[in-house]
């Protein structure tokens, strides 16, 4: 049930135009106007602060594999929302919807993660979700 809370909180933050981010301004690092959808295979998971991260290998149009660095909420936030450190594992095939980093790196903030079986979960902290 705690996972539901995270979505409701995310929606509350969204609907109330909350501009809060976690430990940094979301907009200073990511561009909400540059949405990105990435499909790939998880190569590494970092259950770390200030943000948990995971990395996926994505094949581009030319078949070249590019490794992407994806930021999600902090472990404490994710744990309370129903995640664990093993929710994402190396080798998982996932589709990620998120916002591109302003720096131009192969980096994004992941709002949702969809697993191969179709399960779609929120990954962004409520405060960052706008």
């Amino acid at each position: 049930m705690r996972f539901v809370w995270s979505l409701a909180a995310a929606l509350a933050a969204t609907l109330s135009a909350g501009s809060a981010a976690a430990h940094h301004s979301f907009a200073a690092q990511y561009d909400a106007n540059q949405p990105v959808t990435l499909k790939g295979v998880v190569t590494k998971v970092e259950w770390t602060n200030p943000h948990a991260r995971f990395y996926i290998d994505v094949k581009d149009a030319d078949g070249k594999v590019v490794n992407w660095n994806l930021e999600i909420a902090s472990p404490n936030y994710l744990k309370r929302a129903g995640w664990s450190s093993t929710s994402l594992k190396q080798g998982d095939e996932v589709t990620v919807e998120g916002s591109m980093a302003r720096s131009g790196a192969n980096m994004a903030n992941a709002a949702t993660v969809t697993f191969a079986d179709g399960t779609r979960v929120f990954a962004r902290s409520a405060a960052d979700n706008r």
Partner: protein, 261 residues
């Protein structure tokens, strides 16, 4: 785990539809959903009291307030008037230099959107100390002296300053001086000087709500004092968790542009 996530995702979708049909009326940064069922049962009834009759503020609270721009918390009729040097400093600040992004403390009255707990010592009877234990932005604490002492004359500037507290009825009043000028009030970079003095008034207005009205005095940066109000929300059943901000802070090198929302 996966099965649990599936079930939760399905429930979440239902909630999402409901939420879209009935937009939330909760204020910005209210600490999340107002749906009590989703954050644990919120107790009702009178505010609990300690042995000495003072309100019991213990429990885990989620800090909330205008963390993007402190002016969003101004009380009615209040205004924030920057002196020229402070205005110039604010306008020169870059987002990547925000101490909070660098895993440094928030100072006062900036709020990080992480749970925190108030602990008093001794646990029973008249408190000599209160501790605010912060899960984030950094795993840190504030110490408030409740034993009637005054601020010392030989204070060195620090991130959280020197705090003394007393009760005025059911309101805990905390006066703090001795701040450094390193922390920012918000993401947009509102500054202050070492002349900063804050007076925070904490009132448990409901069992589930801790209201904090803070008056900011800083003649070095602001033309007049101003007062902001933040409201913290109880998280029944929650415990503090670890949050070691410096562990893997890759963000700073990717943050771009001037300080802002």
């Amino acid at each position: 785990m996966r099965a649990q996530l599936v079930a939760l995702a399905a429930l979440a979708l239902t909630q999402a539809v409901a939420a879209q049909q009935a937009p939330s009326t909760s204020p910005a940064g209210s600490g999340g959903s107002s749906n009590a069922a989703l954050i644990g049962a919120v107790p009702e009834g009178p505010v609990p009291r300690l042995q000495d009759g003072t309100p019991d503020f213990s429990g885990v609270w989620v800090g909330s307030g205008p963390i993007g721009d402190i002016s969003g918390g101004l009380m009615p009729g209040e205004e924030l008037v920057l002196l020229p040097a402070a205005k110039a400093l604010k306008e020169s600040r870059m987002a990547a230099d925000d101490p909070e992004a660098l895993c440094l403390p928030t100072g006062v009255p900036r709020i990080a959107p992480y749970p925190w707990r108030i602990v008093q010592a001794p646990a029973y009877g008249k408190a000599t100390h209160l501790f605010f234990l912060f899960e984030g932005n950094i795993h840190s604490f504030r110490q408030i002296f409740m034993d009637g002492r005054e601020h010392p004359d030989d204070l060195e500037a620090t991130w959280y300053g020197h705090s003394v507290g007393h009760w005025e009825g059911d309101t805990l009043v905390i006066e703090t001086v001795g701040f450094n000028d390193l922390f920012w009030f918000d993401f947009v970079g509102h500054p202050h000087t070492t002349q900063l003095r804050t007076v925070e008034r904490y009132t448990r207005t409901k069992v589930s709500e801790l209201e904090v009205v803070t008056t900011v005095y800083d003649p070095g940066a602001y033309a007049k004092p101003f007062t902001v109000k933040y409201t913290h929300t109880l998280r029944p059943g929650w415990e503090l968790m670890e949050y070691i901000c410096n562990e893997n802070n890759q963000d700073v090198e990717h943050i771009r542009g001037p300080a802002g929302l």
